[in-house]
């Protein structure tokens, strides 16, 4: 079972938080923080497994993570999952993101959080691995996106919702955000399957 999936950036800002077991929000924040500190300390060229200890669930659980450009992808899993398998699953997930967003970067995760979740939902469901075949995942995600498009997408939302969104006071956004090279470089790993 996968207990939690966390994605945060190099500064510990959570970009995707998915717990498959209920934790109160404060604990969630604490877990993200602690996980971040655990992971941050580690060099890129040391192993990707961490015994999570007291974080979630105790000694049966392991943290398995990968670091891509600015983002850490951390999976917290118990002993029924194969460590290398999960590493490959992270790779599959990131590659899928890359495919769906075309050169995914951290900003994609920020502005399309819902989509990231939808993709994740096709990979992992309720803590169990649902699908590992990337083509299948992409096909399902795209089919759902098409369905959404045929309904007119969110723009056809009730006027109420639209005006609500418009009324939100957003801080001034700079026109051109120079984000540098944020793209996640998906390295070519030996194929798993």
């Amino acid at each position: 079972m996968i207990q939690a999936i966390l994605v945060f950036n190099n500064h510990g800002k959570p970009r995707l938080v998915r717990f498959y077991q209920r934790f109160p929000e404060e604990i969630q924040q604490q877990i993200v923080r602690e996980t971040f500190h655990l992971v941050l300390k580690r060099d890129d060229n040391i192993c990707n497994f961490l015994e999570g200890g007291s974080l979630i669930g105790g000694s049966d659980y392991k943290l398995i993570y990968r670091h891509y450009a600015t983002l850490y992808f951390v999976f917290c899993v118990d002993s029924s999952e194969s460590e290398l398998g999960i590493l490959d699953l992270i790779q599959v997930f990131v590659e899928t993101l890359d495919k769906c967003f075309e050169n995914v970067c951290e900003l994609d995760l920020i502005f399309h959080m819902d989509k990231v979740h939808y993709i994740l939902q096709e990979v992992v469901m309720g803590g169990m691995v649902l699908e590992t075949n990337m083509n299948e995942i992409v096909a399902q995600v795209e089919a759902q996106n098409r369905l959404e498009k045929s309904e007119g997408g969110l723009s056809a939302a009730p006027a109420r919702a639209v005006s609500a969104v418009k009324n939100i006071n957003l801080p001034e956004m700079p026109r051109n955000i120079n984000i540098g090279d944020l793209n996640i470089k998906v390295p070519n790993l030996s194929q798993f399957v």
Binding site: P14, N45, S82, L87, M125, G126
Partner: protein, 1140 residues
């Protein structure tokens, strides 16, 4: 969401969830999955919405609902929706099926009652045509089995088949992991697994799969206690592969390799020791996790020879280590390594003591008590080292300010506890006791934790007593009085202690010293009496010994506490209760090996003043026999170490010097050995034996320690305390359900009645002859119960046998072949007289019938019962054909006839069934076969043929050829003509069997067929090789084209009502087997599944490979069975007529 609370929006989320558009619904469910949990009160409002979405025509609506539900399913939701989800498990879209299968695990967790009803269907999904669904089912079952493996042992054959056939690495990994959990329960399974696993190890290129295989092989090897011939080969293979992993530049592989290696280490240390170089290399790795793993491995690698070297290396790591966790880990590992199996590897205890002293210089460690325990242990057990230990401890006490800087509990200051005690207890070895006494009475001491101060106070008196004695011996009364004055002056600082224990001891001792002072003033010699307080030796006692002492006869522990048990023979005294508590609390924090002496601190002197304690284990032989096992210290053959180095080392010693000394000594010894060759054997590695005793070899030291192990022996009649470590709150415990037990009718998933009331009326209920049911009720209840019990027991046995059967045969395919002859009684298919009433509505199938008719004449295979009783050209009605084989039936069994009440479970042992039936056989080879359709390809069936070599020749170049008919053709490799055979892709050594698959394409599935074929092969033996042939006839009965497909009663009822099924019926007389048995047979041989069963009626369902529905209503009369069939495609209706 992202760590922020959004529960205030819960109701709005539900509103969005119920939007009709997918766009919104998806967002709603996403939000719900992030924020809902069991405590969300609005969640109960969602039940109907979710049910609606689950049954939505759009697969994505359903998918989104399932995904959402998987995150917030509650017991209530699980109960209410279990049935709907179960229906979805056989949805037409694999996308939905796999989600539904996965979510079942969550449902089981929340609503364990659903497990048994849903399990059969879940099991079915293991063989789902879609790999995604299959993998989901494997996933769920693996999760279930991980928690309660023994309930899933019976699935082993199925998983085994999957393992050998699947190519999906995910599935393979899961299955292999599962086998890892199952093998400890069933060693025979392990034996069976080894071969395919080693094959996988050799063949796979995926590291993850390789790793899991190695892991499971290790688990298997561990579970096999007795040696197998190829045992060591597998171990070697594993170790070899692991070495490759460890040497890999990928840190992940390195880590996992070490992890797996440590598992091997536990059972096969020898094979790992060969790779010591590798492990030591990993100790220098920059990655902490890898170093930790390597440390684990080191434990098993030390020997007398390399211990010092390894520990030296670890000590340098300790110095370099940053981060207390790693340092602490190193510390415990050093102690573990040194103290393992009773200090087996330590040849020089002085060195060990100095290592321990060096370790006290660590800052911020949490393992002070560990070091302390080791010090105490060594000092007590190794007599010869006491002098040295005491000198070291006094130095330590002197520099206590260094150590005591951190006063946190379990900090390094704990060693002072040990130091104080050792100095006090063995004060006769002290060089300058007065100095040590002063050190122990410094004002700074009062900042130490209470329990350490308490030990200080007690040991100050011991020291005092020994100094006093010394002074009096020298008749230095002046100095003695001076000493007493000093005590009286310093002790009050402890009397003021906040710690009760310290205070009490100090006050007591202060008064004692004051009394001595008075006596001294009168010039009375007191030293003798004072030291009598602490006379005698202490003895190690097993940590659990006290608990295990049986209550002496006549002692009633529940008796009034103020009446001391009169017959307690022991003269032991009770130690101060509070002191005793102190000890015990301390004990808990320590590994058992280290702490037996802790409990042993009972002084003879104290015994005099304290009352009876029946729990006390005496060190000296007592009248109670059972205590005599614990020998006194006198009996411990302590190694006599002739010290050749000056004992007093100025300042704290460094362990390094001992390493050097040790080397020198070893060298010296080697020289000596050379000199006296005759005594060659005796002296390896044993330093410091310069006396005539130096013939003692390594082995001699072992008994010195082992004696202490004996003290750990429990009183003979002590009961082993079984610790039930299962947590009663463990959610997985509820899922510990016996899945092999047949389903009872009461175990149904709750169905929401108001929703499908219209479909709940199933036609078979209408037809059910009520009278029949009534007429059968005369039996007594009790008898029934008994019978049921017996049946259930039998059922169980049978299960066991099945598994045994599977496990006892060697190669996988051989597991399947059926016993060629069915059991003599109760097999309905072969012998009944058949009255076939055939409804053949369509003319165009006459052709096929004719063909069948012809075939009827041919011999029938009893197991496949393809006898066809059709009359050509007579559509609608028919002629009872009293055909072949009117054998006598055995008398009808009472049990079988016995009616059942309230549909309680009525199981009876089913005869072993196998879908494989005999195809042909000669002296060389035996062929059994099974035909299976596949849903994916609607015009293909696969024939599985098991070839078993019965001769002692080697069979090769096997080729199978079949004479195609118009309807049925063998699928041949491209480019070959219809007359070419299909080669069998393997060879058969003598006695081996293997399974080959052949695909046939079918034009029409409505007719039965017989194909003639030949198997040609070359049999090679010592005398040469010969060409051989074996002819066979392959039967395709109509039911071969059916695929077991589950169906649910509501869907089934709809199907029947829809009216587009055509009808046919048949009545078979002379069935003398139980209904249960009959159903099982129909289901098994004809690929039907039971939809519903009421007493002696049941409706069955199946689907043909071309997707036609086939529904059956089977009714059991007195001695006959009537079968009504309805088929989706009118054409197949006739064809599926019941040939038996």
């Amino acid at each position: 969401m992202l760590g922020y609370d959004i529960s205030w929006a819960a109701f709005n989320i539900i509103e969005v969830m119920s939007a009709s558009k997918f766009t919104f619904k998806r967002i709603g469910y996403l939000a719900a999955s992030q924020c809902f949990h069991e405590g969300t009160d609005v969640i109960m409002l969602t039940t109907n919405q979710i049910r609606k979405d689950l049954s939505s025509p759009s697969q994505y609506d359903t998918g989104v609902a399932l995904t959402g539900l998987s995150c917030f399913v509650t017991p209530d939701l699980a109960r209410d929706l279990a049935n709907d989800i179960m229906t979805l498990m056989s949805h037409t879209k694999p996308y939905i099926r796999k989600k539904a299968v996965l979510i079942m695990y969550k449902v089981f967790l929340k609503y364990p009652e659903s497990l048994r009803p849903a399990f059969p269907r879940l099991k079915e999904k293991l063989e789902d045509p879609d790999p995604g669904v299959q993998s989901a089912a494997v996933n769920v079952i693996c999760e279930l089995a991980r928690r309660n493996p023994k309930n899933y042992l019976s699935l082993a054959p199925l998983f085994f088949k999957l393992m050998t056939s699947s190519t999906n690495n995910w599935v393979l990994i899961k299955i292999i992991k599962l086998f890892g959990a199952l093998t400890p329960l069933e060693p025979r399974l392990g034996k069976k697994l080894i071969e395919p696993l080693t094959n996988l190890i050799h063949s796979t290129s995926a590291m993850s799969l390789l790793y899991e295989c190695v892991n499971t092989v290790i688990a298997v090897l561990i579970s096999l206690s007795s040696g197998m011939p190829n045992h060591s080969a597998s171990i070697q293979l594993c170790v070899q592969k692991l070495r490759i992993l460890i040497e890999d530049s990928d840190q992940n592989l390195k880590y996992l390799g070490l992890l797996a290696m440590s598992k091997i280490l536990r059972t096969h240390p020898k094979s790992v020791q060969a790779h010591k170089d590798l492990v030591l290399q990993c100790l220098d790795d920059k990655d902490e996790s890898i170093r930790l793993r390597a440390l684990d491995l080191l434990y098993g690698m030390v020997s007398k020879k390399n211990l010092m070297e390894i520990v030296k290396k670890l000590m340098t790591h300790v110095d370099k280590a940053e981060g207390t966790t790693y340092r602490d880990e190193l510390l415990t590992k050093i102690i573990d390594i040194c103290s393992q199996s009773n200090y087996q590897h330590i040849t020089n205890f002085e060195w060990y003591i100095s290592i321990l002293v060096e370790l006290t210089r660590l800052e911020g460690t949490r393992h002070g008590h560990l070091i302390a325990a080791q010090m105490l242990d060594v000092a007590i057990r190794v007599k010869a080292i006491r002098r040295f230990a005491v000198s070291q401890m006094s130095v330590l006490l002197d520099s206590a300010h260094l150590v005591a800087s951190s006063t946190q509990r379990n900090g390094i200051c704990e060693v002072l506890y040990a130091a104080a005690w050792i100095c006090g207890e063995f004060s006769e070895h002290l060089q300058e006791p007065h100095q040590t006494l002063e050190a122990m009475l410094r004002p700074k001491v009062t900042t130490l934790p209470g329990h350490i101060q308490a030990v200080y106070v007690q040991n100050v008196v011991k020291l005092y007593a020994s100094i006093l004695q010394q002074k009096e011996r020298d008749s230095d009364t002046e100095a003695a009085q001076e000493l007493t004055r000093f005590m009286v002056e310093r002790l009050p600082q402890f009397v003021q202690s906040a710690d009760l224990e310290v205070q009490e001891r100090a006050s007591c001792i202060l008064q004692l010293v004051k009394h001595i002072q008075k006596l001294q003033a009168k010039e009375v010699p007191v030293a003798e009496e004072v030291s009598a307080l602490f006379a005698g030796e202490l003895n190690p006692v097993a940590p659990k010994a006290q608990k295990k002492v049986p209550v002496p006869e006549g002692l009633d522990l529940d008796a009034w506490i103020n009446e001391p048990p009169s017959d307690s023979e022991s003269e032991d005294e009770m130690p101060k209760a509070i002191f005793h508590d102190e000890e015990q609390r301390h004990t808990k924090q320590q590994p058992p090996k280290a702490d037996e002496e802790e409990l042993a601190r009972r002084r003879e002197a104290r015994k005099q003043e304290q009352a009876n304690n029946p729990f006390y284990i005496k060190s000296s032989p007592s009248p109670q026999k059972r205590y005599q096992d614990a020998p006194g210290v006198e009996h411990i053959p302590v190694v006599q170490i002739d010290l050749s180095v000056p004992l007093k080392v100025p300042g704290l010693p460094t362990s390094e010097q001992y390493v050097k000394l040790e080397e020198e000594r070893r060298h010296q010894q080697r020289l000596e050995k050379d000199r006296r060759k005759k005594k060659r054997k005796e002296k390896k590695g044993k330093p410091r034996r310069h006396s005539s005793l130096h013939t003692e070899s390594d082995e001699d030291i072992a008994p010195a320690q082992q004696v202490d192990i004996i003290t750990e022996e429990m009183p003979e009649n002590a009961l082993p305390s079984d610790e039930d470590d299962k947590d009663p709150n463990d959610p997985y415990r509820a899922l510990d359900i016996d899945l092999d037990k047949p389903l009872a009718d009461s175990e149904k998933l709750p169905v929401q009645k108001h929703r499908n009331a219209d479909t709940s009326k199933t036609p078979e209920k209408e037809d059910m002859p009520v009278t029949e049911k009534k007429s059968k009720k005369p039996k007594k209840k009790e008898k029934k119960h008994k019978e049921k019990d017996r049946e259930r027991r039998k059922e169980k046995e049978r299960k066991g046998e099945d598994l045994d059967f599977w496990l006892s045969t060697t190669p996988p395919p051989a597991a399947a072949p059926a016993p060629p002859t069915p059991p003599p009684t109760g097999c309905l298919e072969e012998e009944p007289r058949v009255n076939a009433v055939i409804t053949a509505p369509e003319e165009e199938y006459e052709e096929s019938k004719r063909q069948e008719q012809d075939e009827e004449e041919e011999e029938r295979d009893p197991e496949k019962k393809p006898a066809k009783h059709k009359k050509k050209k007579h559509k609608k009605e028919e002629k009872p054909k009293d055909k072949k084989k009117s054998k006598k039936k055995p008398p009808v069994n009472d049990e079988v006839e016995e009616p059942l009440e309230n549909g309680a479970l009525n199981e009876e042992p089913l005869p072993p069934m196998s879908s494989y039936s005999l195809l042909a056989e000669n002296s060389y080879v035996k062929m059994t076969y099974d035909i299976q359709g596949s849903l994916q390809k609607d015009s293909q069936v696969t024939v599985f043929i098991v070839l078993e070599n019965q001769s002692n020749s080697f069979l090769k170049s096997m080729e199978l050829n079949v004479l195609d008919s118009l309807n049925t053709k063998l699928a041949r490799p491209e480019g070959s003509s219809v007359h070419d055979g299909v080669p069998v892709p393997f060879q058969l050594p003598p006695g081996i069997s293997n399974e080959a698959q052949f695909v046939f394409t079918i034009q029409s599935i409505v007719m039965a067929q017989k194909l003639k074929g030949t198997l040609s092969f070359i049999a090679k033996n010592d005398e040469g090789s010969t060409h051989e042939k074996l002819d066979f006839k392959l039967h395709f009965s109509c039911t071969s084209y059916l695929i077991t497909t589950p169906c649910y009663s509501d869907a089934f009822a709809k199907l029947l009502e829809s009216g587009d099924l055509s009808m046919s019926s048949i009545k078979v007389d002379g069935i003398n087997m139980s209904f249960q048995n009959l159903l099982a047979k129909i289901c098994f041989y004809h690929h039907f599944s039971v939809v519903e069963r009421v007493d002696s009626c049941a409706s069955l369902y199946s689907r043909s490979i071309q997707g036609h529905h086939v529904c059956l209503l089977v009714k059991k009369g007195e001695k006959s069975v009537s079968v009504d069939g309805k088929c989706g495609d009118a054409t197949s209706s006739s064809a599926t007529c019941w040939r038996r």
